[in-house]
Symmetry: C2
């Protein structure tokens, strides 16, 4: 860290890091997704359409923020960030499909199945998931193979039936829940912990694995991930009610229209907002022992509930 | 190998091994796919519906056959077999979707999206792919983490845009190819090498990785995989023309109906059959240096073109 950082606020630095991350991620996907000179060309373009030029890149930013706690190599952190972002993007592409959420707009552009077709969108998601594990298992991600294996195992678990996909399954069940038996706060919390929390947990834990921090010394990090994951979802629910669809780049108000229970419908706007702020304070407290090295994680925690998209 | 094997033909032993593999794979998926006591229960049932109780388990059999060349641990080979079978099953579940091949029947049962719904089928496939990598990365698969990483990297590559998914992309392009510019033999071969060949290549190469055989000593194995992969696809094309839909457990004659070029449409039935036999002989020649240890691989090569489903 240069001396200049001393006079730059955490949010100012976060803005700089976010801009750099946007460029880094686009460049990394540009390299990872070349366009072959055969009939697969249009498909490769569809993968690039899904992966390049959009999104907040929150997950790679969390990987980088947690990586700063341990002074890890930026290039290796970026590879882990690309892997987790590939899983995140695949899940968005599949969630947007007609058989799932049936969304037309994502990050301000037509969704992949709208811009191309459904079969392409299914295969784009499938190939992005494979890509994530191919990147993690590559020796360039970390010199210690045991570390790379543990990253693969953690990401596969976080992505699968006991993680992100499991959360999506609960989300679908919520839509068909009988009106007299709506989901309660415990179920909505569990849904979030799987659907978005598991992947966020990976982002924070992966750098600890890379730094050979044993599991029993990762409790604070897990606490941080738990709290900002929940705060992130509450902020998303608030944006769904109060946000600007143009800024969000996607349709809003869909939860209420679908009769889904959310943190906002269960807690009310004011209580949900208070809860999110409380969680962010708690998240920052979990990493205060790291001192200045936790600056980026703290700025990200604040950003989670102050973003407008 | 017991002395009794000396009087048992390769095909007799293969039948025994296949029956054992059917039981082993069902048991392994039974353990890997528990049914949680919450709203995800029906989804877990759908994963089990897709994975348990059907299929020839060709890919795990190939893993076992190649594993016998090096005298590898059966339990570890089975884990690799479960991983590659999970990827194979996920691809079938997604390929059967209405937006893809729109099939109603698979392994004699309604396809997953027919028995459940499309959203469930998409998520079952997604979760099975994650499961494959979670299993491979687990220390129980091999004690050497570098080996596990290499297995993950090879399977991810074989499954993704430069492997299986890439083959499916070419297959879809074949359906929309202009009638005056149908796919030629080179393109159909490339399609097969990606769509089914890449995963078969993994099955044969994975045990060599587990036995620490360096890449330059895997050329014969790659030759075997290449040849039986092609023979397998030619046999599939022949079955599509001449087979019994009841035995196959799926709709037949679909390629011709879709106007797709296949090895049979390009070569004719007789030439295709000769080509398949030639490839099987060539495959067996590739592994003859392993002597008796290649018995199962040779029996599998013969089975590939003699099966009726």
């Amino acid at each position: 860290m240069s001396a200049g950082n001393a006079v730059m606020s955490g949010q100012e630095r976060l803005q700089q890091v976010m801009q750099q991350m946007a460029r880094d991620m686009d460049a990394a996907f540009d390299v990872a997704l070349p366009v072959p000179d055969d009939v697969r060309g249009p498909f490769a373009e569809a993968m690039r359409y899904a992966a390049i030029g959009g999104g907040k890149r929150m997950r790679p930013l969390l990987v980088r923020g947690a990586g700063e706690l341990f002074g890890l190599d930026q290039a290796q952190l970026l590879r882990v960030g690309v892997a987790v972002e590939a899983v995140h993007i695949y899940s968005l592409v599949h969630d947007d499909l007609p058989a799932m959420d049936d969304d037309d707009l994502r990050r301000g552009k037509p969704t992949v199945h709208r811009a191309y077709d459904e079969a392409t969108a299914i295969l784009v998601g499938d190939a992005l998931q494979s890509l994530a594990f191919e990147i993690l298992a590559d020796p360039r991600t970390h010199k210690d193979a045991a570390v790379r294996c543990e990253l693969v195992r953690l990401l596969a678990h976080a992505a699968g039936a006991n993680g992100m996909v499991g959360g999506q399954v609960i989300d679908m069940a919520a839509e068909t829940a009988p009106e007299d038996q709506p989901f309660d706060l415990a179920t909505v919390t569990r849904l979030q912990q799987l659907k978005t929390g598991a992947l966020i947990g990976f982002c924070i834990e992966a750098p600890a694995v890379m730094a050979h921090i044993p599991p029993e010394q990762r409790l604070g990090l897990r606490g941080y991930a738990h709290d900002i994951g929940l705060a992130f979802q509450i902020a998303d629910d608030l944006l769904d009610v109060e946000g600007d669809a143009d800024l969000a780049g996607k349709a809003l108000g869909k939860d209420a229209a679908a009769g889904k229970q959310t943190f906002v419908s269960l807690l009310g706007v004011e209580q949900a907002r208070r809860q999110a702020h409380m969680l962010v304070d708690q998240a920052k407290a979990h990493v205060q022992g790291y001192g200045d090295r936790a600056e980026l994680l703290c700025a990200l925690a604040d950003y989670v509930i102050e973003r407008d998209r």
